[in-house]
């Protein structure tokens, strides 16, 4: 154990966990990384490409090395950073990306082969033979270079989405963020404070700084208590603001129960969409390192992280307490780590400071003007080589902290292509002036990283932000704090690793990019940062190069002889850290993927044992199987024959309904439909065809004129929303001068088709004194009426099946009861419910077009409806329907009968003359719909055939090359049933 004293862990709450099968003990407040360190575990994983042994490098979400797989079974989660994984009792973690035990990874052979895996090796090595890439190289590389593995089981947890609105969003709960939230909270503003950590305080929890001459945790606790007491402030820990979107919208993920073994009745994570009038970016800063030879051994980590582990988690970075620790720095900050470690009783060898005039802040050795030029230790650091003026000496150390300066976390400020600007005094990029509107950087994120300046900058940012939205906030009393010394020099990496063959200095740990790789990219002229990134894969790993991008820029700047800002800047894009696909789905999975619409008779159909089918958003009854029916075809054939010989009932509520009212309703519909609607008599229905403005057929339906100024029009189920939108467009954007009002009533009316020769007899039994005789209520009549003793209803004598048929509509809440009543009253008539399959067979037998024929590629002429496009008036699509290209189209909708009646030609098959070569040039059209016709006792189809209307009786071939099928068909009229229409008018 290498547990130190103090820290923000609860020693009264011990927790057991396992790592690679071995059980360890940690405490409440630990992360997986801090608990492993405190147990003397340095080796936590293997690198991506070379499978080099790696230890923890950072103490936050920027971690490149310590990637683990958590949990087991369906909750197994790969690529989780041990540094942000909160410890819980029973946590099971495994290292990843190795074959065999972590200590003896068989794929470590890659490291010996590293000369073959230099930058750009993908592009150079695996190019030949070409076919090998897909079949051999890529799967092999993916397997070897993979990170964690997926469980391949469905995620058992729930996710949610939430929406928040506030005056001020504060991103980050450190010194600047807390000061901003307190300032805004006291001013009465609606505040959301989000921090990715589970504890508030940010860097304050990791430093030894005093606030008001007491531990910083005292002030954090009082600030937290005050913010919690304010009703206008919402504190959100474990919440990462990952992206800035347009107009002050921020994306955030709250990890609601990632820190629990199982979520229980909570969701796992919530995706928040936060609309904020203003935001303060108080995201802090990330430390950078200085590449030197063999700098990737477990035990080498960021000096600030080392300090954080010691102060917050009381964890020492070494395997045994007696092991020495050294710090390598280019500025004062590294000395702080030495001081804090000494205060905790650690064995500090000293500080290696690249500056000749290195200061000393306490009782430790300073190696001034020195650098680290080598390390030893196969699975963990054992010694380092310190070099001064060419003189080298090896020292035994168990851990080395590297302090290369701090990079402000400018990520969110560059999400709208806001370019960070170089600050020469800070030796870092800070947010530029052209960041997202309303986002104000503060504290360390703005380059003001001293505790005193972060606190006051947070307050200033909140006051400025609120003043922009008309809220006056006053200055608040901030705790007394200091800015620690932060002098540094521009020292980016230890020279001597660009070309030497044996010495490699890592820049990007997770993707194994070395100084030498950057030199190679430069040599191959991949000098722009965009090329550098893609050639070397630098910054492309899951950490997105948070600890490596600036170091890489500095190396490239040195190679090109340009300054760092001249070399380039990194434009960060969302997300700040990885966001799980599960939470982006937000629970919209499986049946919850989209709302499911149920028809008014759904429950009734369910009780009848119906099978259902998805039709757009609707669930519709597909067929109603009865006992003894072995196949769906048997059921559908029975339903079809019942309609043709007796009476059938089908819920057709899903067809779109639009109520059109107003003095100009007729004129409006004249312009919407290709045919005349204004001349329709009150009490009559007309079939209508809509075109798209480009002249193609769009949608069809019926227009029923209920009164002089009132039409009810129907659309296809699929286009219900689109046609309504198009009608509103025409009304508001084209002809607002017309007196017409539109409303969609699809859901307001339940509509049931009553079809078959006995339909009139059945309806007579439910209407209230209404004359249904052919004379009084002929084909295509419509009327309002009452049924079942006073229920208001609408009756339309229209037919999709070709039989004597009606559609009856009642207010939706009576749909279920109407179906029941019709079934009761029709028992002796053998009233038969039918589903969408029978509906389709009936309409194919009658030759009616549906979605497959109105597929957006066809015209009125092709459908045999060319005469419906009135030349007497303008309507949507009329002009374009007459253009040469469409007018010359010769394919026509016809019917087809299989020559061998029991052989089906599949819809989608293409049509050819018998014996012709089958290719594009001989293609004569295609089949749109096909089914078995119980009426004709054989397979039939509809389709578009070149000059089809003049080829009746010809035998042609339907080819389905996908399934190697050809079927001989006879060309016939599309009206297989009652071509004269006598049944409709009976």
């Amino acid at each position: 154990m290498t547990r130190l004293t103090g820290g923000l862990i609860d020693r009264n709450a011990p927790l057991n966990f396992t790592f690679n099968g071995k059980t360890y003990k940690g405490f409440q407040g630990d992360t997986l990384a801090s608990a492993l360190l405190a147990n003397g575990v340095q080796l936590m994983g293997r690198s991506f490409k070379y499978h080099r042994p790696r230890g923890v490098f950072a103490a936050g979400s920027e971690e490149p090395n310590a990637m683990v797989e958590l949990r087991t079974g369906a909750r197994q989660e790969p690529n989780t950073r041990a540094t942000v994984t909160e410890l819980f009792d029973g946590l099971i973690a495994r290292s990843q990306n190795h074959v065999g035990p972590l200590e003896r990874d068989f794929l470590a052979v890659n490291d010996l082969l590293s000369p073959f895996f230099a930058a750009g090796f993908y592009y150079k090595t695996f190019m030949w033979p070409k076919a090998f890439w897909e079949k051999l190289y890529e799967p092999m590389i993916r397997k070897a270079a993979g990170l964690g593995s997926l469980s391949m089981l469905p995620d058992p947890d729930d996710y949610d989405k939430g929406f928040l609105h506030c005056d001020l969003l504060v991103v980050g709960g450190g010194a600047a963020g807390l000061a901003a939230a307190l300032t805004a909270g006291r001013a009465g503003a609606e505040v959301v404070l989000a921090d990715e950590d589970f504890a508030l305080g940010g860097r304050l929890t990791m430093e030894s700084d005093l606030l008001d001459e007491a531990a910083a945790t005292d002030w954090i606790a009082s600030a937290k208590a005050e913010l919690e007491s304010l009703p206008n402030v919402r504190l959100m820990t474990r919440t990462t603001v990952f992206g800035v979107y347009d107009h002050g919208i921020y994306g955030a993920v709250e990890r609601v129960s990632d820190h629990l073994a199982v979520p229980g009745d909570k969701v796992r994570q919530t995706l928040w969409r936060i609309t904020a009038k203003r935001a303060v970016l108080a995201a802090g800063a990330t430390e950078r390192h200085m590449p030197f030879a063999d700098n990737d051994r477990p035990g080498v980590m960021l000096a600030g992280a080392m300090r954080a582990y010691a102060n917050r988690w009381a964890a020492s970075p070494v395997k045994q307490d007696s092991d020495a620790i050294a710090i390598f720095t280019n500025g004062d900050d590294g000395h702080r780590t030495a001081m804090d470690l000494i205060a905790k009783g650690a064995n500090v060898l000293g500080v290696i400071d690249a500056r000749d005039a290195a200061p000393r802040f306490g009782d430790y050795e300073v190696f001034a003007g020195s650098t680290v030029t080598g390390t030893k230790g196969r699975l963990g650091l054992t010694s380092i080589e310190i070099t001064r003026n060419g003189q080298s000496q090896w020292h035994n150390v168990g851990a080395l902290g590297v302090a290369g300066g701090w990079n402000p976390n400018v990520h969110l400020a560059s999400h709208h292509r806001g370019r960070p600007v170089w600050d020469d005094s800070l030796l870092a990029f800070v947010p530029g002036p052209n960041g997202p509107a309303g986002l104000i950087p503060a504290g360390a994120a703005a380059g003001k990283g001293g505790t005193e300046e972060a606190l006051s900058d947070g307050m200033r940012a909140a006051i400025t932000a609120l003043s922009e939205i008309g809220v006056t906030a006053s200055e608040i009393a901030l705790p007394k704090a200091e800015n620690m010394p932060s002098e540094q020099v521009a020292f980016w990496h230890v020279p001597g690793t660009k070309r030497a063959t044996k010495k490699r200095a890592w820049v990007d740990f997770q993707n194994d990019v070395t100084v030498k790789d950057i030199a190679l990219a430069h040599k191959e002229n991949m000098t722009p940062v965009e090329h550098l990134k893609r050639w070397t894969t630098l910054g492309m790993a899951t950490d997105q190069g948070k600890t490596s991008n600036i170091s890489a820029l500095a190396v490239m700047a040195e190679l090109t002889g340009k300054s760092i800002p001249e070399t380039g800047t990194t434009i960060f894009r969302p997300p700040y850290t990885g966001v799980s696909l599960g939470v982006l789905g937000g629970g919209d999975t499986g049946p919850l993927f989209r709302p499911r619409r149920l028809t008014p008779t759904h429950a009734w159909a369910e009780a009848q044992g119906a099978e259902f089918v998805e039709v757009g958003p609707w669930m519709r009854a597909q067929y109603f199987p009865r006992a003894g029916e072995a196949t769906w075809r048997e059921t559908v054939d029975r339903e079809v024959l019942a309609v043709r010989s007796g009476v059938g009932l089908c819920d057709v509520t899903t067809l779109g309904k639009v109520d059109v009212q107003g003095a100009d309703a007729g004129e409006f519909l004249n312009r919407m439909y290709s045919n005349m609607m204004g001349t329709l008599k009150v009490g009559m229905v007309r079939y209508g065809l809509m075109l798209r403005e480009d002249g193609h057929a769009y949608d069809d339906g019926t227009c029923a004129r209920m009164a002089e100024d009132h039409y009810v029009v129907t659309t296809t189920t699929a286009n219900a929303g689109l046609v309504y939108r198009q009608m509103e467009f025409a009304h508001q954007c084209l002809w607002p001068e017309l007196d017409v009002q539109l409303i969609s009533t699809t859901d307001a009316w339940a509509q049931i088709a009553v079809a078959g020769p006995k339909s009139r007899e059945l309806l007579t039994r439910i209407v209230d004194e209404f004359d249904l005789s052919n004379e009084a209520f002929p084909f295509m009549a419509c009327s309002e009426l009452t049924i079942c003793n006073g229920l208001r209803a609408r009756l339309f004598r229209i037919s999709f099946s070709g039989e004597l048929a009606y559609e009856i509509a009642v207010p939706a809440r009576y749909g279920h009861a109407l179906m029941q009543r019709l079934m009761e009253q029709g028992a002796d008539l053998n009233a038969t419910p039918y589903g969408t399959e029978a509906l389709a067979v009936l309409r194919i037998e009658k030759g009616h077009a549906a979605g497959a024929e109105l597929n957006g590629q066809t015209t009125a002429q092709m459908l045999g409806l060319g005469k419906m496009v009135s030349a007497k008036k303008d309507s949507i699509g009329a002009v374009m329907s007459r253009r040469e290209g469409l007018a010359a189209e010769k394919r026509r909708l016809v019917g087809f009968k299989s020559v061998e009646p029991q052989k089906q030609a599949m819809a989608g098959s293409h049509l050819f003359t018998e014996g012709a070569v089958q290719d594009m040039s001989t293609d004569q059209g295609w089949l749109t719909s096909s089914c078995y016709s119980p009426h004709l006792k054989g397979y039939i189809a509809l389709g578009f055939l070149e000059n089809g209307d003049t080829r009746m009786g010809e035998i042609i071939v339907a080819a389905n090359p996908v399934e190697g099928q050809t079927v001989k068909l006879e060309v016939v009229s599309a009206h297989f049933v009652d071509p004269e229409g006598g049944r409709l008018r009976a």
Binding site: Y245, D246, H247, G248, I249, T275, H416, E693, D694, G721, R725, E728, F729, H731, Q732, C733, L734, P736, E737, D874, A878, V879, M880, R882, R883
Partner: protein, 92 residues
């Protein structure tokens, strides 16, 4: 994005359906001699400016207004939003 609806105030763009260039409101006169050519332009040709763009949005999950929104396509800044029926009415 947030759309400043002239009647309802700032509304989330998720409530809207986007159509495109507001020139779609200038439907040609079908009775003209060159109607077919005019419709060809109307249906198939659109400007696609980098910068200020007037475009049609339908408040489908709201009050069903068609709006003419003026938006800078390079910054997504919304410079204004009007009811399409007002725009069309004023042009007559």
């Amino acid at each position: 994005m947030l759309i400043p609806h002239p009647l309802l105030g700032l509304r989330d763009s998720q409530e809207f359906t986007y159509l495109g260039d507001a020139s779609l409101m200038q439907r040609p006169d079908a009775s003209l001699d060159n109607a077919e050519a005019a419709f060809c332009d109307y249906v198939f040709l659109r400007d696609n400016p980098a910068g200020v763009h007037r475009e049609l949005w339908f408040h489908e999950q709201g009050d069903r207004s068609w709006l003419v929104v003026t938006r800078d396509t390079t910054t997504h800044e919304i410079l204004g939003a009007e009811l399409a029926s007002d725009v069309k009415g004023a042009a007559k």
